[in-house]
């Protein structure tokens, strides 16, 4: 009970911190110091937090263009991430990757890339190596509803099933691929998790805006994987609040309705969890996070760019 109360608080903290980090990026983006495409997860934090909190530190995670939340939830260094977005040599990828290429191997965050779907087989490869080495950890990959449309997703799942690999596929279904709704990309009324189940893998479905649900579902599923139940797939519904790429809101563009947006905003994962934990710590937390985040931006701002010599030396 106490333990569970404690866990709920941890989940809340993780989400709040991610939200505040992302809002700081949105706020400062117009300063023109973060000069790279940047995809925020504001509104989708429960998935990153719920899944990564249920994983163990030794578990390995890969992600997509929209990676900040996954990176932070898995324990990636905040300073290194912000510096990376600033393009600085103190960044997790020495400034050579930017927002879309985050890595923190010590935290088990193995990378994120900017090509839709193309970390999915890489994660299966991690699972293959884990199995060959008889390790006890698992591989986990995050991707969106759009990535499911890439053939490589299907191929990767097929192989994972054939070889019974220790991997968790996490699909964040936020209904959109850039400005394109599901209806122009996938069959009407086809549920992703049902379709994927037919590929031969166990699949699960959850409310991606309920961090407790995501957490307990993932805990259970992870248990299955380490007990050799083979690969598992989970689809989580959620919604991106801001524009696909960049710091702003974009409801004015008209590709989605205000009602839809508002109905999801009401289901703010952080607010939901805040109500559950009934904590009065909110302000203390927010203050300490704000401080940490401000420090990270300062650190990034003051850091140097990588030298061209460094850049060149890596590739030769």
């Amino acid at each position: 009970m106490n333990k569970s109360r404690n866990n709920s608080l941890e989940l809340f903290k993780s989400m709040l911190r991610i939200r505040m980090v992302e809002e700081s990026i949105a706020e400062k983006y117009s300063e023109g110091k973060m000069r790279c495409p940047t995809h925020l997860s504001i509104g989708q934090e429960a998935i990153a937090t719920g899944v990564c909190s249920a994983l163990e530190k030794k578990d390995l995670v890969l992600s997509t263009h929209r990676a900040h939340a996954h990176y932070l939830a898995k324990g990636g260094s905040l300073k290194s991430m912000i510096a990376e977005i600033y393009g600085k040599v103190t960044g997790c990828s020495l400034g050579m990757g930017g927002s879309m290429h985050l890595i923190d191997k010590r935290a088990g965050f193995m990378g994120s890339t900017a090509i839709v779907g193309n970390t999915i087989p890489v994660a299966v490869g991690l699972a293959l190596s884990i199995k060959l080495k008889r390790r006890k950890n698992i591989s986990c990959v995050f991707f969106g509803d759009g990535a499911v449309e890439e053939g490589v997703f299907y191929e990767a799942v097929n192989f994972a099933v054939v070889k019974k690999l220790p991997i968790l596929f996490v699909c964040e279904n936020n209904l959109y691929s850039v400005y394109s709704g599901l209806e122009v990309r996938q069959p009407e009324n086809r549920k992703i998790y049902k379709m994927v189940r037919a590929l031969g893998i166990d699949t699960h479905k959850g409310d991606g805006n309920d961090v407790e649900e995501v957490f307990s579902l993932t805990k259970l599923i992870r248990e299955k994987i380490v007990n050799n139940a083979g690969p598992q797939f989970i689809e989580l519904d959620t919604y991106r609040w801001r524009e696909h790429c960049g710091p702003n809101y974009d409801n004015d563009l008209g590709y989605r309705t205000e009602e839809e947006f508002m109905s999801w905003k009401k289901r703010d994962p952080i607010e939901t969890q805040r109500k559950r934990i009934k904590s009065n710590e909110y302000f203390n937390l927010a203050e300490s996070f704000a401080h940490e985040i401000e420090e990270a931006h300062k650190f990034a701002d003051k850091s140097k760019y990588p030298s061209y010599k460094q850049f060149r030396s890596i590739q030769s």
Binding site: P37, G97, H101, G146, E150, P247, F311, Q315
Partner: protein, 349 residues
């Protein structure tokens, strides 16, 4: 003549082509969305309906095959990808099918598709959002590769590509979309396979392509002031490559600088230097090329300036070829940060 932007010229070519022939259709991720692929496809769906203009799943390889199949019945698909890099998923369809369909069926079939690919640049696009892959496409027999540098050519070459019976890779450098220039209202064509002399000159031949032609034009002006008369040739299409035109020019100037927007080795600039060297033995200085270092494109603002050569580097390179000093050269005041095409650009994509 009125002036419009490169993006608008593309848009006009699309309107024109779709009006001219019911067989023309266009699709790709984001084609009918509010941003209309940097506003190049804006209004098309409203005008021509959602059967002929549509969005697609993120399935680059299948969508390319689908375009090929539709084209076998006379449909003329214009497919669009927001970045060249994404199209690497479709190499099987474009190389094993589209480029070879005609020859492997003895000329009984052809594949009149056009693939519009946007080349990313600046604002931390990084290694997988700013590749210049035209050398790869050019190496494949059976593909045409088009790289316009200005609004006039963009419209005329796109129309020509669409109504050409062979598969064409049409590359649009992101930074050209905002360029403004004179463009006729009516439909016209610019032939594929003909280079264009942008400026006549007598001392050196500079070949250039796509966005690099813009940088070259600045350099050429500067060099003129410094007493070097450059003949600037805009390649316009890398395959077929109008090597005859280039050789004619070098025969006159006896000097060559081949400028490329891709990494240096095994590139279009290599081909130009090689072809010229095999034809013309008596040059006044060794042939030269200016292209990117053989490294994946960097992301950091601290690296991109050095990685991408511009007017300044072109000017210096030419001066060196003439044995002149480059130190005092200080003429290209950057009016905006090096990683944006203009002050209006604030990211993020």
């Amino acid at each position: 003549m009125r002036e419009i932007s490169f993006a608008r010229a593309i848009n006009e070519a699309m309107f024109s082509a779709m009006k001219t022939s019911k067989e023309v259709i266009t699709f790709g991720l984001g084609v009918p969305d509010p941003k209309g692929v940097f506003s190049t496809t804006t209004g098309l769906q409203e005008k021509f309906g959602s059967e002929r203009v549509f969005d697609t799943p993120t399935s680059e390889n299948a969508m390319t095959g689908i375009g090929i199949g539709a084209s076998l019945l006379g449909t003329r698909p214009v497919m669009v990808h927001q970045r060249v890099d994404f199209f690497l998923l479709a190499m099987d369809q474009i190389i094993n099918n589209a480029s070879k369909w005609k020859i492997m069926f003895g000329g009984t079939s052809s594949v009149p598709i056009t693939i519009r690919l946007i080349v990313g640049h600046g604002w931390g696009q990084g290694p997988t959002h700013s590749q210049n892959l035209h050398s790869i496409f050019s190496h494949i027999p059976g593909l045409k590769v088009v790289m316009p540098s200005n609004p006039y050519d963009a419209k005329g070459l796109l129309l020509e590509s669409i109504f050409d019976d062979d598969p064409t890779i049409f590359l649009e450098h992101r930074w050209l979309h905002g360029q403004v220039g004179k463009v006729p209202v009516e439909e016209y064509r610019v032939p594929v396979g003909e280079a264009k002399v942008i400026k006549k000159g007598s001392d050196i031949t500079i070949t250039s392509l796509s966005y690099m032609t813009v940088e070259s034009m600045h350099a050429v002006k500067e060099l003129e002031k410094l007493g070097i008369s450059c003949e600037l040739i805009d390649i316009r299409t890398t395959s077929p490559l109008d090597i005859k035109r280039i050789i004619r020019s070098v025969n006159k100037t006896k000097r060559l600088l081949a400028i490329d927007s891709s990494v240096k080795s095994f590139s279009v600039s290599s081909e130009i230097v090689a072809s010229v060297s095999m034809e013309i033995s008596k040059l006044k200085s060794p042939p030269n090329r200016l292209a990117l270092d053989d490294l994946s494109s960097p992301t950091s603002f601290g690296l991109t300036d050095k990685y991408y050569p511009g007017a300044l580097e072109i000017t210096k390179t030419v001066l060196k070829m003439f044995g002149k000093k480059t130190k005092s050269l200080n003429n290209f005041k950057k009016i905006h940060p090096h990683d944006v095409p203009g002050d209006w650009f604030k990211g993020p994509f």
